[in-house]
């Protein structure tokens, strides 16, 4: 078994740090680990993996259960245990495992948008990227930038297709109207990374909110003591919002007809395939949501390294992108990061009104953003 031993990891870190000279201004050490590119064939990895224990995968997406089942079929004798957690809890568990000296899992699939995943697990070297060259050449240029982002999604507004045959709004400020009181659902931004990424990033778009307001109301926005139009918007619209624990609750409220609108991860659009009455809002002034992505990483010092590598290869769709492991993720509401694999969604990401979060800014502004959203939630 080829373990990433402490010494090897330290060597990688030392080389990486020496080469990059990384370290942030505040003095927090940022460990810039090179992407691991073990070019062993799947067959070679499989032979080694057969001598290992059950592979443990921590994930924020239940879709990986389908990948697990396909993986166990493709590689008889290998077993995968999946633990499905919300992003903040996943990070906590993985951090705790690292602190105890025994990683709790071998592979981690996490939403990497809020900056938490990057600052707490990636920059600290608790998780490391593995990307085989034969797959990496097909992926977006920034995919291997410290993380292996394997799927693009969005945090986007949906409307209830049960209540409306087409989206009844064109401007985000319409959501502040009295008729939508308790009819807008949203996951708690302090508990959902993708929601946080959207909510916190939106605060950097004050001017767009002001312009959108003028287009909506026909007059300039009076901020009433608030400097940021985005903050003003969220304070106002939160009076209409029911906060939930997760995107699942949002989709269920849309389907049950309890909600007219709801923000949730775009991949939930796949539920429309089993009859959920929800439809995405692709066009909205100034924007409908933000871009998000998912990363797959190995834990540093993981117990089942070869199984982990084989599983990640499988999840990424193998060399030709046709592997069964990626299929569960090629659904409506997702966009491929591989040039040789088509998007799961009919409408391309570039045609949707979305903002792109600046992850470093999210990390830097975290304290302020959390305080703002804590106040909103307490007042809700």
């Amino acid at each position: 078994m080829e373990k990433i031993s402490g010494r090897v990891a330290a060597l990688i870190l030392a080389i990486a740090l020496a080469l990059s000279g990384c370290g942030d201004a505040a003095g927090t050490e940022i460990k810039n680990i090179n992407v691991i590119t073990d070019n062993s064939t799947p067959k070679e990895l499989y032979e080694k993996a057969l001598k290992e224990d059950t592979l443990v995968v921590y994930t924020v997406s239940t879709r990986v259960v389908d990948t697990k089942e396909a993986f166990e079929k493709a590689y008889p004798g290998l077993f995968v245990e999946v633990r499905d957690l919300r992003s903040p809890n996943l990070i906590e568990e993985v951090e705790k495992g690292d602190g105890s000296g025994t990683p709790v899992c071998d592979v981690v699939l996490c939403n990497d948008n809020s900056g938490e995943f990057k600052s707490r697990l990636v920059d600290t070297g608790i998780v490391v990227p593995f990307l085989p060259e034969d797959i990496g050449i097909h992926m977006e240029a920034d995919t291997a930038n410290g993380m292996v982002s394997f799927l693009n999604e969005a945090e986007i507004l949906f409307y209830s297709a049960k209540e409306y045959s087409e989206c009844p709004i064109e401007n985000i400020w319409e959501l502040t109207e009295e008729k939508y009181k308790d009819r807008v659902y949203m996951p708690n931004p302090l508990r959902s990374f993708s929601t946080y990424a959207f909510c916190a990033s939106s605060l950097d778009h004050s001017a767009q909110f002001e312009d959108a307001y003028e287009a909506y109301a026909g007059e300039k926005l009076k901020l009433n003591g608030t400097e940021n139009a985005a903050e003003y918007f969220w304070k106002k619209v939160s009076e209409n919002i029911i906060f939930t624990n997760s995107s699942d609750e949002v989709t269920e409220a849309l389907n049950d007809g309890k909600a007219d609108f709801g923000w949730c991860v775009s991949s939930k659009l796949r539920l429309a395939g089993v009859g959920y009455s929800l439809a995405p809002v692709y066009k909205l002034t100034p924007f409908s949501g933000c871009r998000t992505s998912y990363a797959v990483m190995m834990t540093n010092g993981c117990k089942n390294e070869n199984s982990a590598k084989l599983f990640i290869r499988f999840l990424l769709g193998e060399k030709d992108g046709q592997g069964a492991g990626l299929k569960p993720f090629c659904t409506a509401g997702t966009w491929s990061v591989r040039g040789d694999v088509p998007d799961g969604n009919d409408v391309p990401l570039s045609d949707i009104d979305l903002i792109t979060p600046n992850q470093q800014k999210l990390i830097d502004d975290k304290e302020k953003s959390v305080a703002f959203w804590t106040d909103i939630l307490k007042g809700n």
Binding site: R86, N245, D256
Partner: protein, 471 residues
Amino acid sequence: MRKRKQIPALTGIISILCLFVLCLNGCTPKESREKLSVAIPESAHVQDPENNYYIKWIEEKTGFDLDITIIRQSSGTGFLDALFSSDADIDIVMFGEDFTITQDELSDYVSSGDIYVNGDRIYYENTGSSKGDGVGQILWINYNWLKALSLSIPENTDDLKAVLTAFKEADPNGNGIKDEIPMTGSYEEYSLSPVEFILNSFIYNDPYHSRFGLNENSNDLYAATDEFRAGIEYCHELYEEGLLDDSIWDGNLKLLTEVCNSDRDIVGAFTTSSISDVIYQGNPEILARYIHVPPAEGPDGERNSLYIQKAPEIGAIITERSNKKEQAEKLLSLMLTPEASLIARYGEEGVDWTYSDGSDVSVYGGVSTITTINYIWNTSQNKHLNGIGPMNVPEEYLEGVTWNGVNSDFEYINGRAYMGYEDYLPKVNVFHPYDDKLSEYMDTALEEFIRGKKDIGSDKEWKRYLEGLQH
């Protein structure tokens, strides 16, 4: 110089005296502390009861030492029979997890004088494991099968029949064998019978209150209505077409659990009051297989959700043979206080949970009152007894607890399902009492009509059934 030599000697003597006194001080209270002998069932979720945080807290609060005997059997009556036929010196027996006893079973020991009764109190209750009254039955459907066959979740009884038919005919588990069970259940609980769920699409059907009406209609027997008959006819059709499994009447919960958790993926739909009634703990793959479906709308627009009043479970009893009854009562009464119950349910305050600042959403969708830091319920831990013993967690905390973030957590899965059912619950505050004999008659008649032993289409048979209701 002499002084200097004398000081250590004196210090030594004083030290020895101090040690002696300290030893006496340390030993005396320990020896004089009351000892209570407590039997606690073995649990995979409690690492070491002797050194359990909650047990230590109780000992500190009461000043008693608990001498713990671990019960290694799952039959409550089996253990009590053995206990009371021996001369074992046990003051308190605690129940919980798989080691349970019903009130009926307990009454036999009350009659035989083996259990201590003080006024009305026969046992110390446990009301702490989940939210109280509310949704009593949820329909769970195989999500993978819906996806495989490109089907939508059923919204009404027509959809339901179409989906179950597809489950039966179209090999949704893809193994090339017709081994699919479209809809199954068990006779052990009303909540496990999909028939009860389906009838609620025709008229409010409350088997827990002998199928009477609600509030001002609480003396109207809904099981005697044409709507109820239409519901039975629909169930009979499903049964005739092989869409309802015989296990609904012949199968026990164990069998239902086995088929629903089977790796063969053979079950299309089933009903429970909690997903944990049937699906094994810690099995995210199986849990991901099933999703809840809101109540189905019937042909006349009827759509109801079964209401259940959750009775407290038996948490502990005091044996009549105990010569420390007063101390036992003090201990068990302490366990029923909110302070103790919050430890018993959520662990150590400040470490495992805190009171919420209100910025979180509870697992049931409301404002949080308890924020869990370490979610230790149903995990291997040593902070509490995982629901064993008496507890009385105030409803505001049971309803206000935050989600632990684990998608396969039962409380979260149930909580989401309840939100989809709550709008269809009856607005009720008057129930007809449960009538044992009448319910048994109706349960038998339902089975006979649905399985075709009697003809639900025959007015004569229906009349005979109605006449039977009068007796």
